[in-house]
Symmetry: C2
Subunit: 220 residues, 2 copies
DNA sequence: ATCTAAGCCCATCATTTGATGGAATCAATA
DNA sequence: TATTGATTCCATCAAATGATGGGCTTAGAT
């Protein structure tokens, strides 16, 4: 009992995995309609038919990419949570922003594909979704925004989205934005982190002080 | 001396203008590669050849759409600036967020196309750009982020981008995000405004207090 | 040695898609 | 009325694109 995706992940040297990796990159750059199977095949150095042999039709490969990315993002969020767990809110947010920014700059297709998915339509119906709702709930808890672990309030969801979208935007928009500020990549990344921390943290810190220990991290 | 775009804007009832309007909507939903000339033609209730007759090739029409949107966005930003001019920073930001959010929810293609442009690549080289750099500078001044009207510091640019991207994200992502929080459109928009104001304003307000009257709005 | 299944590519197909030539329509004008 | 120019659609083309059948090769089992 073994999805094609699992198989590809177990054996990273297999052709299946190689195609998936290339598909991630190309779909991430050009989106679903902007990507042709030939582009992916060329990137992988193979024939189109080989691609179809392993993954079926284009849409299936795309969905595999989405699942793959979903998994990576979830893992990354859990890694962050493990490290920031128990610290005071301000520090927690600063570390989380730093870590997630670094991680996503290393895997920009993740941000790209998530944004493509949220902002654009595809001509065929998409039956598959990112786990953003669940992830958002997790982050909300990690940010002290919600008491109830089961259900996250709309307001808390939105606040988390402001933060996550902020990071994704600067990762996906690197090409445009870095040209605007005319900086090297490293300097740009530093600036992204600083600007995000500067803008995003104070609001939450202020509320955290006010409501005191009403919601404590020690709860988890 | 009269660009095709100008002509279309002068006569909003012309076929040229109608095609442009439809193209805005469809390109805004599906992006460049996700849109076919046939989709636009059908939306306008005309034949493809009529479309080509008025606007030339697909890429030309797309660029006309971008210029059109650019103009609208610029006008809208000037409208906002006129109203918030002279008020204290906190109030200024709150009004600006409210107004821009309303405006963009009324014209979601604007946010969509700007984000498409920033986040994705197109297979052909894009020689045309949004005026985001200039706009960003204007907003930075309006937000008290920069003293020099000529040159905006990278840091100020980034801070403005956090704000603008935040708004665009919720407009473009309405479909995904509203489903997540399960709200009616009006409630969603209210929540967007509140969340954005809650998260975005305190950081700037705090710095504004600290540095006192070093940079005053009265300067403009 | 033979057989089998998997992996891969070449050749090819059908559809979609961008684009155009030319005929039909219509309004304004000489 | 005849002419002209602008506008629109029908028919069609060429290229791009998703997809597949069948053959070749290789590794492993029999």
């Amino acid at each position: 009992m073994d999805s094609p995706l699992e198989k590809a992940r177990r054996d990273p040297d297999s052709m299946k995995a190689k195609i998936l990796a290339c598909a991630r990159r190309v779909f991430g750059e050009y989106g679903f309609h902007g990507t042709t199977t030939r582009m992916i095949a060329q990137e992988a150095g193979i024939d189109i038919s080989t691609l179809h042999y392993h993954w079926g039709e284009k849409k299936d490969l795309y969905e595999a990419v989405i699942l793959d990315i979903n998994r990576d993002l979830g893992q990354s969020l859990r890694d962050v949570e493990k490290i920031i767990h128990g610290r005071p809110l301000t520090e927690r947010m600063a570390i989380a922003i730093d870590m997630m920014t670094d991680y996503l700059f290393d895997h920009p297709e993740i941000s790209n594909l998530i944004l493509f998915r949220h902002y654009g339509k595809t001509r065929h119906e998409a039956n598959l979704d990112f786990n953003v709702p669940e992830f958002t709930g997790d982050i909300a808890r990690s940010m002290n925004l919600t008491a109830d672990a089961r259900k996250t309030s709309p307001r808390a969801m939105m606040e988390v989205l402001v933060v996550m979208n902020g990071i994704h935007s600067f990762v996906s928009g690197e090409h445009s934005f870095r040209a605007m500020v005319d900086l090297e990549k490293e300097a740009y990344i530093r600036l992204v982190k600083d600007a995000l921390k500067f803008v995003l943290i104070p609001a939450f810190a202020k509320r955290d002080e006010k409501q005191g220990s009403g919601r404590k991290d020690t709860k988890f």
